[in-house]
């Protein structure tokens, strides 16, 4: 019932068959390779995103999890328009935004903000907090009077728990947790509707992580925000998100509501991932052992990307790439085994 209601609501974000490849072959001379005593030109392509599709509903926290190199950060950056996609479509509240030019994109940039992982690298060290927080407001609202901007800076600083009296200090004078608060404040300055948070807490200590997560939850409540939350920390995901997308090698394996994903993971990779979470006080718990290592996104396996490590692999998995299928409870799974009802 819950699902039906949210389906009828306008989606904040809809992504269809998104593909993003990076050419890392370098210059012409770097591309030349000898093969069978012949000089050939070889291009090296990193296939970061392959046919990704999902939707995000208003007010929810949509988490994207996966191991390093699986393309989750690329997905976040592509969605907010930091990378153009090679193909596929991105819709923001029903409007297509992936083919807009920089000027047409401007109003959307104000609505979609991003919080980055490393608060040491994402704040300009030569700007004071005041300048950092002013810049996006003044850029998007050039006519706003200075007094109003200053008031807004003070109000948002207060909201994220940084003393407004410190607005003339530089980022290096703040601790990691406080810097992350300033990053969040910067995103909140322009009244966004949708925030992509790319590993916002992984550079922080445990006790500070809790502070920042609470801050993000408070901000969501206060401003009615929708989050796309990118992380590798499954414990955070379980606590924090409405729905979860599990990514592996640039492909979505499973998209499900958090409770469903954690109680009954469907995809073999999700199952392995869930069992690998280091849990408190469950010493020596058995987890599913995966064979081998994550292949590089340069030479993607043919067929299912997970086939090389999957314990349930069959001949069809090596041949044919599975597509995301809608399950009866609204979960999306891309697995031949689940489709054939043998997993």
């Amino acid at each position: 019932m819950q699902e039906k209601i949210s389906m009828s609501v306008d989606k904040v974000l809809r992504v269809e068959n998104l593909v993003r490849h990076f050419d890392i072959s370098g210059g012409f001379l770097d591309q030349l390779k000898f093969r069978d005593r012949r000089l050939t030109r070889v291009k090296t392509i990193v296939k970061a995103l392959n046919n990704v599709r999902f939707s995000i509903f208003p007010g929810e926290t949509f988490s994207v999890v996966g191991e390093s190199g699986c393309g989750k950060s690329t997905l976040g950056r592509t969605v907010v328009g930091l990378h153009p996609p090679n193909s596929g479509k991105i819709f923001y509240k029903g409007e297509r935004i992936d083919n807009l030019n920089a000027k047409e994109m401007l109003p959307y940039r104000q609505k979609m903000q991003m919080v980055f992982q490393d608060p040491y690298a994402s704040l300009n060290p030569r700007m004071t907090v005041q300048q950092i927080l002013r810049e996006p407001v003044v850029f998007h609202n050039p006519d706003m009077p200075g007094k109003q901007v200053r008031e807004r800076v003070a109000r948002i600083m207060d909201q994220v728990g940084v003393d407004p009296a410190w607005s003339f200090r530089y980022p290096h004078e703040f601790s990691g947790g406080q810097r992350q608060r300033i990053s969040i404040a910067r995103a909140l300055m322009v009244n966004p509707e949708f925030i992509v948070a790319d590993e916002p807490i992984s550079a922080l200590d445990v006790s500070i992580q809790a502070q920042i997560l609470n801050l993000l939850m408070d901000a969501q409540e206060e401003h009615g925000l929708t989050y796309m939350f990118i992380t590798h920390d499954l414990a955070v995901v379980e606590r924090f998100s409405t729905r979860v997308a599990v990514m592996y090698l640039g492909t979505l394996c499973e998209v499900a509501r958090t409770a469903d994903l954690f109680s009954s993971p469907r995809h073999p990779y999700t199952q392995a991932l869930m069992s690998a979470i280091p849990r408190l006080g469950r010493a020596g718990s058995k987890h599913i052992k995966l064979r081998g290592e994550v292949p590089t996104p340069i030479d993607l396996p043919s067929g299912c990307v997970f086939s090389g490590r999957c314990p349930h692999v069959r001949e069809r998995c090596l041949r044919e790439a599975p597509q995301l299928m809608d399950m009866e409870d609204g979960t999306l799974v891309a697995c031949h085994g689940v489709e054939e009802k043998r997993i």
Binding site: S175, V206, Q209, M217, D233, E238, R239, L280, A283, L290
Partner: protein, 325 residues
């Protein structure tokens, strides 16, 4: 079980221009042969310094100001560097966080492994060293080890590199491994494999392990005993199960309930410890945790609590709340 390692009232200072900075303020712990101990704390708690001081690897301007480290009955903290080299990398091995920084990128794995062995076993032939290297690679479950020996570090993935580091640390059949955040740079599924491997090897060879990490989850799955550090002191220690299930020190309690996996409904606010870890230059008087502690008593800001047996007698805790008056 015999005592493998004994650390007594260790004080480590860093001599800086404006005076000495105390990174470790009188810590003591023991390790039995074959036992696995977790040193847990946030960044700046001094857990890495504690690990390094065990192998007498505190580099300038740091120095051991007080206290002793006994390894297999010998006071290794008094050893000159020359003599320490026979122990370090031989009887005690280290595993560091970043496997790419630890391996030499311009030498093959085989060269790096045999080099280590030949340095510690002067009479050994190169062929014998290669045989042992191959055997250790097999023990850490690296497929086709003979071919892998001829490869360079960049040809391995992060998880494989950490396996190789573990293989190198096993070369000399050490009695103790000090692992400083060995899986922080790795993904969860790989982390689970590496921690399983370490536990399996420790049990098989009855090696001791000191696991330095900020991740309570990893510690609770791997170690038998745990010591929680805060601002250069051990604030609580005991069996891992007991401390995790029944934390006594307010800092340990806060740390555990701040974990997102702590019991509670999703979407609800997490318990948070207010404030941040004090800078080592300005550690507060009395209990160093008292400005952040919700249960602080007047005495906490005056007197530093000693690490004493807790009321149930199951472990040690440094907190005025548990002092009998």
């Amino acid at each position: 079980m015999s005592k493998l390692l004994e650390v007594r009232d260790l004080v480590v200072n860093f001599a800086l221009r404006f005076g000495d900075l105390t990174a470790l303020n009188g810590i003591s712990f023991d390790l039995q042969a074959g036992e696995r101990l977790g040193l847990v704390g946030e960044s700046g708690a001094g857990k890495s310094v504690a690990g390094f001081s065990v192998i007498n690897l505190i580099s300038k301007p740091g120095y051991i100001a007080q206290g002793k480290v006994f390894f297999e009955g010998e006071a290794v903290s008094d050893y000159p560097q020359e003599k320490m080299r026979h122990i370090r990398g031989n009887r005690i091995s280290m595993i560091f966080q970043d496997p790419m920084m630890t391996l030499n990128p311009v030498l093959t794995i085989g060269t790096q492994m045999t080099e280590t062995l030949l340095a510690h076993r002067p009479g050994m032939s190169r062929r014998e060293a290669e045989r042992i290297a191959l055997d250790k690679l097999r023990q850490v479950h690296i497929p086709s080890p003979a071919e892998r020996l001829k490869q360079y570090p960049h040809e391995f993935s992060g998880g494989m590199r950490q396996r190789i580091i573990i293989a190198i640390s096993l070369l000399t059949d050490p009695a103790l491994i000090v692992a400083d955040e060995p899986t922080t740079a790795l993904d969860v599924t790989i982390q689970a494999e590496i921690m399983d491997l370490l536990t399996e090897l420790c049990e098989k060879h009855s090696m001791g392990l000191i696991l330095i990490t900020h991740d309570l989850g990893v510690v609770s799955q791997t170690t038998q005993r745990i010591a929680v550090m805060y601002a250069g002191r051990i604030v609580e220690s005991g069996s891992t199960r007991d401390v995790v299930d029944n934390p006594r020190h307010p800092y340990t309690q806060g740390l555990i309930s701040a974990l997102p996996q702590a019991a509670g409904q999703s979407g609800k606010r997490l318990h948070q410890i207010p404030g941040t870890m004090p800078n080592l230059t300005s550690i507060p008087d009395g209990c160093s945790f008292h400005p952040r502690c919700t249960q602080a008593l007047p005495v906490c800001s005056r007197i530093t609590p000693e690490l004493k047996e807790n009321p149930e007698g199951t472990g040690l805790v440094a907190c005025h709340l548990y002092e009998q008056d």
